[in-house]
Symmetry: C2
Subunit: 122 residues, 2 copies
Amino acid sequence: MTYAYDVYEDRCPTRLVLERLADKWALLILDRLEGDPVRFNHLRRDIKGISQKVLSQTLKKLERDGLISRSVFATVPVTVEYALTPLGRTLADTVRTLAHWAEHNMDAVLAAQATYDAAAAA
Amino acid sequence: MTYAYDVYEDRCPTRLVLERLADKWALLILDRLEGDPVRFNHLRRDIKGISQKVLSQTLKKLERDGLISRSVFATVPVTVEYALTPLGRTLADTVRTLAHWAEHNMDAVLAAQATYDAAAAA
DNA sequence: CTCCTGAGTTTCCATTGGAAACCTTCTTTC
DNA sequence: GAAAGAAGGTTTCCAATGGAAACTCAGGAG
């Protein structure tokens, strides 16, 4: 089965979706949302280094694309929970693998960098 | 088994690797390099819309991290081939899944966007 | 001579990203 | 009753990144 879409094509709408996923913050957010829903400030604390602006922007884009859902609860102060949608859940395994690949292969990457830099300096 | 690295931590070196992978051009390049080695201008033509500057920069970074290899052949004009390294090959399945997820789910994403935009306009 | 190809580098401008301050509503603390 | 705090953002500003296009260099081909 072939698809009408081709991510190698400029101007294909899939490119826009790829740009959404090919973002370090988006990947970390999707990874973090596996499991129970998480509140805004909880995400902000867990994903160290993300700014509120970028977190807010990224959540909005992921919600628009149907990957996550946003639920508001009328508590005081108001509580907002984010969670993966069924569509977002289809990405969970892939995102987890990619986001954590670095943790498993960091030593190999560091060794490669050292070799490369040594050769470049020579 | 746990790892010394944690991609949720700011300042963890894995963050740098995640930033490398979380890039639309890097993903498309890695995906395209599955299979036989590919030359610079061939990549440029296949990955529509990439500029020479960004292609060159991205290839250099991926090479430094040990994910791809660069081979120069003394033809005229000189030929340069890029290929996945064994380390890069460990990412092949994940990258392919992520890069092509949009192709398989584009209709669902477009529907979600339409719903979101309609609700926002109301 | 001039043009063409492969593999880049350089230049320039527009968009994006991060840091930090600000906003709003309600509650608790002094 | 003034101030501070928590939740969930928005706004502002500057620096870094991204894309478009031109330029480089070497060696053929016409």
